[in-house]
Subunit: 338 residues, 2 copies
Amino acid sequence: MVHQELPVAVDAMGGDAAPDVVIDGARLAVAAGIPVLLVGDPDRSVDPVAARAVAPWVVTREALPMDAGAGAVRAMEGASIRRCLAEVRAGRAVAAVSCGGSGATLVASVIELGLEPHVDRPAIIAALPRADGGTLYLVDAGASVDCRADHLAQFFELGSVWARLMGGALPRVGLLSNGSEGHKGSKVVREAHAMLEGRPGYAGQVEPHAALAGAVDVLVADGFAGNVFLKTAEGMVELLRATFLRELEGDPAARASLPALSGVLAALRVRLDWRSRGGALLVGVTAPVVIGHGRADAVSVGAAIRLAHYAHTSGMVEDVRRALSSGASSSVGSGGPA
Amino acid sequence: MVHQELPVAVDAMGGDAAPDVVIDGARLAVAAGIPVLLVGDPDRSVDPVAARAVAPWVVTREALPMDAGAGAVRAMEGASIRRCLAEVRAGRAVAAVSCGGSGATLVASVIELGLEPHVDRPAIIAALPRADGGTLYLVDAGASVDCRADHLAQFFELGSVWARLMGGALPRVGLLSNGSEGHKGSKVVREAHAMLEGRPGYAGQVEPHAALAGAVDVLVADGFAGNVFLKTAEGMVELLRATFLRELEGDPAARASLPALSGVLAALRVRLDWRSRGGALLVGVTAPVVIGHGRADAVSVGAAIRLAHYAHTSGMVEDVRRALSSGASSSVGSGGPA
C-alpha cells in the first residue's frame, strides 16, 4: 500500500477575494507537491468545475464574515473555518490555512484544536524584514492582548522553537521594551525579564528600532504591544510609499529617472510587502495554523499553504511540546536549559 | 522701563555633542529673536569666549551622563539639567530645553517644576509625519510606562490642548489599539475607551497604520505602547533607508539615476528625519520643557528652543490647567465638554 501524505486543510471562503484567489493559491501549492483539502463552497467560484478539479473538497455553504466576533465563531459550527480545523482535529489533515479574519481563526483554532498542555495563551508569530537583511520573528503579533510575565516566558519558548526550525542555530531572543536597561519596561516586562535572565539565547530587553536593525532574531511581546509594533511597521511602509509618490508628483526629472530604479523598487516591494510573506503562524494550539492576509493574492495563499506544510513536516508542534514541558519545570527555577 | 522678555533656559551640557552644538543652536534661536539663558560650563566649549557671547550663562560644572538613572538625578542637585529647570521654577526663565537623556530630563522636571494640580502622570508629546502630509501628535511617547485608564483620559486632554495650539480647530483624538472595534484593545484601553466615548473630538480606538495614514490628529497611548510606536516608526525609516542603499549597491544603472532623485530624497529626509523636528514636548509639569534629541545638530537645537518658546507664548500650561480642571469633574460623568 502506498503511503499517502495527509493534506493541508484550506479555508476556501476566507479573504476578500475568496474563494477564487484561495483556489488559485491551492493550485500553486498542489503544483509544488503539497496535498491540499479545500473547505467551503466550490459553487461560489467563477468556475465550479475547475475549482473541484484542484483538490478534494469538504463542502460547506456557511462562512463567517471577516469581522466575525467570538460569539459568531462559537455559534456557527458549520462555518468553513470551523470545518477546516475540524478536519485537522479528526486527523484527516495535518495543518490549516485561512485568510479570513485573524480573530475568528484564532477563536476557531482554540475551539477545534485546543491549546497544547503547557501553553496558557496562544500566540501569532509574524516574520518581518530586518535592516541587515535577516528576518525578525515577532511573537505575539496579536493573539493574546493582556499577558502576564509567565505568558511572555512561554512566548520566549514558542519563538525560539520556530526560529530554530527556520534555520537559526541559537536564535537571540529579546523582550520588546522601551529601553534596553533592566529598570525600563512595563511592570510585566520587567517581571518577564527577571524570569528569563540567564536562559540560553535570551538577549534582554530590546527597543523596536534595535530589533528592526538586527539585534535579535526573535522579539517577544504581549499581543497588544506586538500588534502595535507590526502595524506601525506596515503603516510606515505605506507612509514612505505615499510620501515618495507625492514628492515625485512635483518633480518631472525625478519621475523620468524612475525606469532606471524599477529593479530596486521591485526588490523593495518583495522585501517589504507583507503579502509576499504568506501569512503568520498561530502557535500554542495542537496543530499548525497559518493566518493569511485578508487581501492575499494567489501567490500569497500558496506561500501560506507552504508555510503550514513546513510547520507540520518540521515537527513544530512536537518541538513546542518538548520545550514547554521542560520549560514548565525550569520557569520557576534559575533558568535551566531552554 | 522696557519690558524684557524672559528667556528659555537651555541645558548646555545635554546631548552627544554638547556643549558646542547646543551653543550653536542657542545662537540660531537668539538670532531669531528668542532670548536664551544657557546653563552649564562655557569652559568646556572649544571657544569659551564666543560661547559666553551668545547669551547669559548660569555656570555649573556638574552634568549628568546620558543614561543617568532617577537616583543620580535626585542626588546631583547642581547638574546642568537641574539648574536649568530651577531657573524656570525661580521665575527667571519661562521654559526649558535639554538634549540630555529623556529619562533624566523627565525626573528632573518633576522634581524641580512639579506636576500640574489635576495631572497624575507627566507625558511626552512627539510629532510624527502622516502619510497624508499632516502631523500626528503622539501622547505619551514614553514618560509614563504603566498607566491606568484615567491617566489615558488625561493624556486625551493634554494632546487635544496641544494639537489645538498647533493649529487644529477640533483635533480628532484616537486611542492607540490593536483594532478599531470597541471589544479590541487591552483591558486598560477598553476602560479608557468607555471613559472617553462621547467626548468631543474622541475618534475611538485607532490602529497604528490608520493613525499614520491620517485617521487622527492625536494618538493617545501609555508610555510603553507609545514608545514602541515611536521607535518602530523611527526604526522603519532606518530599515527602508538601509534596504534601499543595499539594493542600489548591485544596480549601477539605478545608482546613476540618483542625481535626478536628489530633490525627492532630500524632501523625504526633511519630512522623515526626526532630528529636523526639534524635539518632544513634556506636558503635565508646571512649565514647558522640550526634550531634544541626544544626536541633535545645531538646527535641531534651535528648533527645540523655538518649540519651548512657542509652548510658553501660546499659553499651553494655562490651557492644560483649564482643560483638566473642567475635565476632572467630567471624567467620572457622561463626557462633558473637553
